[in-house]
Every structure is written in C-alpha cells, then in structure tokens.
C-alpha cells in the first residue's frame, strides 16, 4: 500500500459530523476523533474510514476485477502509473470500457436537470470510480462517499492526480451520513438506492430505502435537491426475459415481493432485497421521505452514459423524443428491434413499460431556486 503521508489531504470541507452521535469531529492527519463521544475513526491512505465495518467491501472496483486477491495492489498501481492505468488493469474483456465510463462527460449530462450551479456543495453517494464526483468537482465542492475503502481510496488518488482540491473522498454508510444537516445543494444516488436493503437483510427492504432517503433529505439545504437514478421495476424487456440486472434473475422484479424472495432464495440462496419500483411507487417513496416536489425523467439509453433526459410527467414529450430521436441502429438485433418498435410506436400509456432507467430530481422544498 502507498505511504499514507503522500496522500494526506491538506484541507477538508467543513461539513462533517460524527456518524455515531452527530458530534463535531477533530480531524487529525491519521485519525478523526469525535469530541463528544470520543469515537476514533482511522484515516488510511488519506481516506477517513467513518464506517470501518463496511470498508472491506470490494466495491465497484472489486466487482470489475472479479478477483479480490489482487485488490491490494490496485491503489498502488493507480498511485504509481495513474488512475487510468489502474482501471485498465482491472478491465474484464467484453465488458464496457471502464476508463471511458469513468471519464466520459455524459456521466453528468443530467446536471442541468438538477439545476446545479457552479460553487454548489454536492454529495455523491456510491461514488465508485469517481465518474460523477470527479467531473462535478471541476466547479463544485464534492464529498464522494463510498462504503468500500478501495473505491474511496481510488477516488482520492484520482482527485489528487486531476488536481481537484475541492473533492473529499471518505468511507461511510449511505444510510448514516457523517454530514451535518442542511449542508448540500445536491445529493446524487446513481444506481445506489436498490442496493441499500442488502446491508440490512433483517429489515423491511422498503423501510431501509426510505430511511436512506430521509437521511439524504436531512443533509440537503432547504432548496437543495436529490438526483436519484434507478431502474424501472416494470421495464418491458423484463417481460421478454431480460434478466433483472441486480439479482441477475429473469422475471424476478415482475413477481410480487414474496414470490420474488422465495424464487431468489431457491435459485441463489439469498433473499431478494434489491428492490426497484414503478414510477408512482418511486414518487410515493420520495414523498414519504419528505421531498416536496419530484420531477421524473426517462434516462436514455441508461443512467450511466445518458444521452437524453426526457421528462415523463408529460407523455407527449417522451412521444416526441421517440419519434424524433430514436435510432434503430442502437436496437439492431431482432429482440432489440421489438423493443425499438415498442418505444417508437407504443401509445403514451405504455411509457411506464418502455423506460428502463428513471431519473428523479426531488426537491427538498417546493420552491424554485435562482442562484
């Protein structure tokens, strides 16, 4: 592992609090200490571990690599050969190019929908390889949070190599954020909310998601917003046998929750916790979490590299987009031609089934912001 001293960060954003008691944190170079409850949080390779128990998770990098034994050298490679070289080293053949994914400007093509102004404070939960956090840090102050130490350390190295002085990378839990209340202009949850229940297998999965959203609501400024990107439970492709991407099981999201859980336990010895919802259910969930105004979008083609952010509250707009912008070459195989036809020629009622990934901009209060 690289010498922690070389990665030491000179200045941290003034937004942190103890995740255990909410007390102020004393930020020493090698350890952060709560002045109220005296809990000590170690700092490894310049990354404070505000949730030590979960920090061993292999994270997104581990998922890419498929081999946890080599993770130890990953941060060393990033430090010595550059973050791009490290990502190339863990690239699995046949999978999307992870370097492009981490650097592509379209990772943040939604930022205008979230009304993000330069100088804002952004909290990116589940930062992964920093595709969103590092780009937003070009003109915003960003707290990149991940539960995996490998991911968080990687983002810290990347930020340092890209000279992003306003980016903090920390290890923490999304459902217990070590952040003071009312500090963020924007919180991003991109492909994260569906994984939250997996950390609390004994609790009701929907309650776990709701708690995470309430925690997000807590750290938002009164006129701040959440950008949530997540899959549609009733995506048309799932009816045609496309496996549900989290559980990797066919039809599982279409089943009622009990049946899905039994099916999941039978086939992969795990409960089905990776809950996705329908459009009205997401809106209900966000409303229950205390968000006053919710704008819903169809993220085309997906929430990773988004080419179009299409409002779905008014089906006529999505219809116009389908008619004018959908290119059949992106749907060239026979199965995809079926999907393409479905997108283009289905009536507005079908929109709820055409959309694979939804994006939600949920405002803490129903006021328009004029930065």
């Amino acid at each position: 592992m690289t010498d922690a001293g070389t990665l030491r960060k000179s200045r941290w954003l003034d937004v942190y609090q103890c995740p255990a008691c909410g007390g102020p944190l004393l930020k020493n170079p090698d350890v952060w200490e709560c002045t109220a409850c005296r809990t000590r949080y170690p700092v490894r390779a310049g990354v404070p571990l505000l949730n030590v128990a979960a920090s061993h998770s292999p994270g997104f990098v581990g998922v890419m690599k498929r081999d946890d034994s080599q993770l130890a050298s990953f941060i060393g490679t990033a430090e010595s050969h550059g973050w791009e070289a490290a990502l190339r080293a863990v690239q699995t053949p046949g999978e999307p190019d992870r370097v492009l994914e981490a650097a592509a400007p379209n990772r943040v093509s939604w930022r205008h929908a979230a009304n993000l102004a330069p100088g804002s404070v952004v909290v990116d939960i589940g930062a992964g390889t920093g595709g969103v956090a590092c780009q937003l840090a070009a003109d915003c102050s960003v707290v990149a949070i991940d539960r995996s130490f490998i991911d968080a350390a990687f983002v810290a190295v990347r930020a340092r190599q890209q000279k992003l002085n306003t980016l903090d990378s920390i290890v923490a839990e999304g459902s217990r954020l070590p952040l003071s209340s009312g500090i963020a202009d924007l919180v991003t949850l991109i492909g994260v909310l569906e994984w939250v229940p997996a950390d609390f297998p004994d609790r009701d999965p929907r309650e776990s998601q709701l708690e995470a959203l309430r925690e997000v609501r807590r750290v938002l400024k009164p006129n701040g917003c959440l950008y949530l990107a997540i899959e549609n439970r009733y995506y048309f492709g799932y009816y045609l046998g496309v496996p549900e991407p989290h559980a990797r099981l066919r039809y599982v999201s279409l089943m009622d929750r009990e049946a899905a859980d039994r099916y999941s336990r039978d086939t992969r010895d795990r409960p089905f916790l990776e809950l996705t919802h329908s459009l009205p259910d997401y809106r209900t969930l966000l409303a229950e979490a205390g968000f006053q105004r919710v704008e819903s979008y169809w993220l085309y083609p997906d929430y990773r590299l988004t080419h179009a952010v299409v409002p779905v509250d008014d089906p006529a707009v999505a219809r116009w987009f389908s008619d004018q912008h959908l290119d059949p070459r992106s749907h060239h195989r026979l199965f995809e031609q079926g999907l393409y036809s479905f997108f283009r020629f289905s009536p507005p009622d079908f929109l709820a089934y055409s959309v694979r990934d939804y994006g939600f901009v949920a405002w803490a209060e129903d006021t328009e912001r004029h930065d």
């Binding site: 190019d97 492009l100 650097a103 592509a104 400007p105 379209n106 093509s109 939604w110 205008h112 929908a113 009304n115 993000l116 102004a117 330069p118 003109d139 009733y234 009622d256 590299l305 988004t306 080419h307 179009a308 952010v309 299409v310 409002p311 509250d313 008014d314 006529a316 707009v317 219809r319 116009w320 987009f321 008619d323 004018q324 912008h325 959908l326 290119d327 059949p328 070459r329 060239h332 031609q337 393409y340 036809s341 283009r344 020629f345 289905s346 009536p347 009622d349 079908f350 089934y353 328009e368 912001r369 004029h370 930065d371």
Partner: protein, 442 residues
C-alpha cells in the same frame, strides 16, 4: 442554473414572438452529444454542448431550444456565424438555418436561444429506412431523393453567399491532403503515387472555384433535420469556408453519405466507391441513388464537368475525409483497422481514377450501374406495402396497441389489489397447463 435560463426565456419570449403560458412551469428535455461518451477524440463536442428543448404544458413539440455552448466559441464568432446564417436565409428565400433569438450569459454558461426545428434528422430517417422495422427499398428511395434534393437546393443557395470574388484553385490543398493522408496511413504508401497525386491536382486546378458560405457539419446524414438545417455556430467559420470552396463542400458530404453505415448496410455486397462511381455514369441504368446524386452534382456546380474531373475532386475529398476520420479515431481501438480500411479504399480510388483516364467519358467502366435494387442485400427486403404490419402507414402492432394497455393495467391492478385472487388464477392456469401436458402425452 436552469431556472435562470427559464427565467430568461420568460422575460424575453414575447419579444421573440414565442407565446408562453403565464405561470405554468415549462417542460425541459435535455439532449447531450453522444460523442461525449468519450469513445472518440473530442473535436466538436466542446462546441456542441448540451441542448435543452423547451415544451409548453401539453404541447406535442418544443417551442424553443436553448444551447449551452463551449468556451471555445466566443461572442464575436457567434455574431459572425449568425450574420452569415441570416444572409444565407435571405438569399435562399426560406429559413434554412433556425432563427437565433438571443445569446446570453447565464451563470457561467453562454447560452444561445433559438427557434425549435421539428422533424428527425436525415441520419435517423436513413437509419429507419434501412435498419428500422419499417425498412423498405421504397422508403430508402424516398429518403435518398429527399436528402439530395434538399441538400442540393441548400448548397446552390449557399453558393450565392460568396465570400471571395477571386477564383480559387484547390489542387494544392488536395495535394497537401494526399500527403498528410500518406503520413497518417503508411499502409497506403505503395498505393498512392506522386504521379497520381499530381494528375489529380492538375484536373482539379482546371476548375476555378469561389469561396462561399459552407455547411460546416461533416455528415449530411446527421446534419439537416428534415427540410431545415441546424445552426452553424463554429469558432472558425471563415477558415472552413476557405478550405472547402465550390463543389468541395458538397462532395465532402457526398463521400460521407456513401460512408454512412445505413448506406453501406443497404448495399452490403457493393463497395461504396463503386457505388459512388456508378452514379457518375451518364448512361447508366436508373437506380435509386444514381438519379438524385447526378442531380445533386448539377446543383453544386459540376454539371458540365467530365466524370474524370469529378473523380479528381472525389479523390481529393476522400483524402480529406480519411484524415478527419483517422485523426478522430486516433486514440481509439479501431484506429489500426481503420488505417487498413482506408488503404483499401485508396487503392480503389486510384484504380477508378486510372480507369477513367483510359476512358475519359466513363463509358467503358461506368455504363452499367452496379446498384440494382433487385440485388440488394437479402435481409433488406421490400416491406413498404399495406399488408406489412411494421409499416408506419398501418402502425406497428395495431391490434396489440388496442388491447395490451388495458390488459396490462388490469393485470397489475389484480396483482396489487387482489394478490390472493391473482395467485389463485395463476395456480389454476398452472394446473390446467399441467393437465393439458399430461393429456397430450397420452
């Protein structure tokens, strides 16, 4: 940020002639440039930025567009481009370029507010005609005819916006492009000789050209949305006009058109250069591409030029296009394959040029068109008839559209409100299926 853009729209819409509802929030659709996925080297992406289409509540099409432009595009450059666009629109007698209402600094962004243009662009239209479920040779014929007719008319009008009255020779530039191509693509080293380059330059220099306002986009296929152009806000408009004088501007897009993936898919058995060459034949069989292309060549000022001269221009433009693609994909994994591909095309370009030199009127080689729609690729069958259910005329899945939405709604309602009934019905259906299976075994 976006709220301030909306505020700007509200404050100025009346002066632009755009009616807006007094209080309702406008809907916004964001369109990012797919090139910003990072797959290719960023050339235009920084300038293109993000488009926001604004919709009034319940409107079926956008009422205006705002465009966030990159820092490389200065206010002076925008003003110059806007003036040229406006004079082009006046000369044409119709609005080829959308009206630019206003350019404003909002937050830290420069935002251009412009008229919304409706209709899919040619690339989408072409892709639907070739790859879409409604694909048919007749659809392709319609799109190709429309592309070349509209593009020819537009270029004829743009040529009237002359920037320099002095005649221009393009041979030296073509020579320069050929040498740069050979540097970028060493695989073509033994194929393109100095003699061929010189002969091409001589033929080009025999035609005096004029500098005029050009279409700045490289692909006609993704350029003109229906009958209207997109805007041409680019940093170095004068430089582009100098580099692409006279018919070069049109031929750039002709080469790009034949290189476009839908066209290559439609004529999968044919090389695109042969396809293009066959279009130059004066006495070939009428086919779905040849006639519109020949009319287009007339429109861009090559009516009286021989096939040999036209091919010399095509050769120069081919080198220009090849350089552009090779540089665009320089950091990409396909760079090596692209070099080999272009070396092969260079061989064909030179071969066809040599054949035309032997038979200058093109009659020996080009008398018979090789593009015959009866011989199109097997997958590309004619589907444009009333019985075919994918046709946009008969609507896709017309029966399905009628009954599936209510059926799905009922399905979900029963599942969510009456889960026990739902499970019971499924159980009964399962038992019935099992019984049928057992019966069929007996």
């Amino acid at each position: 940020m976006i709220d301030r853009v909306q505020q700007h729209i509200r404050e100025h819409a009346a002066s632009w002639g755009v009616e807006l509802p007094a209080s309702a929030r406008l809907r916004m659709l964001l369109r990012a440039n797919p090139e910003n996925d990072g797959i290719v080297r960023e050339i235009a992406a920084g300038q293109v930025g993000t488009l926001a289409f604004w919709f009034r509540p319940h409107d079926t099409k956008p009422c205006l567009v705002s465009k966030f432009v990159g820092a490389s595009l200065t206010a002076e450059a925008i003003a110059e481009c806007t003036n040229l666009q406006e004079s082009a629109n006046e000369k044409l007698g119709y609005r080829l370029f959308p009206r630019i209402y206003s350019i404003a600094e909002v937050g830290s962004h420069r935002v251009v507010f412009m008229e919304a243009v409706d209709g899919p662009n040619y690339e989408i239209q072409l892709a639907r005609a070739v790859h879409g479920p409604e694909r048919s040779t007749r659809a392709l014929e319609r799109v190709v005819a429309q592309v070349f007719q509209e593009l020819g008319t537009a270029l004829r009008g743009l040529h009237a916006v002359t920037l320099s009255g002095a005649p221009v020779k393009w041979g030296a530039q073509a020579t320069d492009y050929a040498r740069r191509f050979l540097k970028l693509c060493p695989e073509a080293g033994g194929i393109v000789s100095e003699a061929s380059i010189a002969a091409t330059a001589d033929l080009i220099d025999a035609v005096a050209l004029r500098e005029h306002f050009v279409l700045t986009e490289d692909h006609i296929t993704n350029y003109l949305p229906g009958p209207r152009a997109v805007d041409q806000l680019v940093p170095d408009i004068r430089g582009l006009c100098a580099r692409w004088p006279g018919p070069v501007d049109g031929l750039r897009m002709l080469v790009a058109f034949f290189r476009a993936s839908p066209i290559r898919q439609a004529f999968a058995d044919y090389d695109w250069l042969d396809a293009l060459a066959s279009c130059l034949a004066k006495e070939g069989r009428i086919d779905l591409v040849g006639t519109p292309v020949r009319r287009f060549l007339d429109d861009i000022g090559l009516k009286s030029a021989t096939a040999q001269t036209i091919w010399a221009f095509v050769t120069g433009v081919f080198f220009m296009r090849a350089i552009q693609e090779l540089e665009f994909h320089a950091d990409n994994a396909i760079a090596g394959r692209l070099r080999n591909e272009f070396a092969g095309y260079a061989r064909d370009v030179i071969r066809i040029g040599d054949e035309l030199r032997i038979s200058p009127d093109g009659s020996r080689r080009l008398a018979v068109s090789r593009l015959d729609k009866d011989q199109l690729d097997g997958e590309f069958r004619d589907r444009d008839h009333a019985d075919f259910h994918y046709s946009p005329n008969t609507r896709v899945f017309s029966e399905l559209i009628r009954w599936l939405p209510p059926a799905l709604r009922i399905h979900h309602r029963i599942r969510e409100r009456h889960p026990r009934l739902y499970r019971a019905v499924r159980r009964i259906l399962g038992l019935a299926r099992g019984a049928l299976r057992r019966l069929s075994r007996r």
